[in-house]
């Protein structure tokens, strides 16, 4: 890509963040870190939406800001999600006394 500031670079950035978030989710031991990873994934998606809405505004004439609106929705949903996830983790912690998700394997078998 010729220019650094371009759609592709934003998309690539978002892709990288997505992959990193995925790796965090799949690899980390602690439940709270997994929440961080999930937040990263959400953010990557939001960046995608915003980049598209800003770099290609001619798509939708009166609705140029659709991508940003969607990004706002993403933020809201991510926040709600983080809240619910933390609630679950806290109650799990009460039962298992740990946040190590390897030890939370009652679904085995």
């Amino acid at each position: 890509m010729p220019a650094l500031f371009s759609l592709q670079s934003y998309l690539l950035l978002s892709a990288m963040l997505f992959v990193i978030g995925l790796i965090i989710v799949l690899t980390k031991n602690n439940a709270i870190q997994i929440i961080m990873g999930i937040e990263l994934i959400f953010n990557a998606a939001a960046i995608n939406f915003v980049a598209f809405s800003c770099f290609r505004p001619h798509l939708l004439d009166t609705l140029q800001m659709s991508g940003q609106v969607i990004a706002i929705f993403v933020i809201v949903v991510a926040a709600a999600d983080a809240c619910a996830a933390l609630a679950i983790i806290l109650s799990l912690f009460r039962v298992f006394k740990t946040t190590r998700i390897q030890n939370i394997n009652r679904l085995k078998g």
């Binding site: 934003y10 790796i23 937040e39 290609r56 933020i75 809240c83 933390l86 609630a87």
Partner: protein
Amino acid sequence: MFSEEIRTMVFFGAGMMTLISAVLIIFFNNLLHSAVALFFTLVGIAILYILLGADFLGISQVLVYAGGVLVLIIFGIFLTTPHVDELGSARKSIATWITIGFGFLLFRLLAKMILQMPWVTKIPQSRPTINSIGNLFLSKYLLPFELISVVLLFVLIGSILIIRKDLRR
């Protein structure tokens, strides 16, 4: 105008900060350190938003994400870990490396897709967005807007329900 170069530099700087912080989340074993890295990631993303001209979005990103979600996460960390030191480590098994490998594969795939597409783009303009966003919220995206509030309500109540101690016993 010099804004081109500055924009490119700022983009580069912010992008680097975001990426490096994201990677650091993985590598920090200390939970709090990773939370801080997350913070920097979020801030970097906010800068990127503003660079695109999405001013409202960038501010709300900082407000909600960095100021809300992150704080929530830090609360969670404090509530659940006796020692914040080693609990954030990754699995030390071959599965981790395989996962990372797959991650690379995925990224490569996505990158290929991205780079192959012939995008037709325009330079983003910076103008205040909040009017348009407000308009959109109340016209096209009215239903999702209302629904989102309902969702938030549900999540609030639900989380409290999950978390409360059963007082009856």
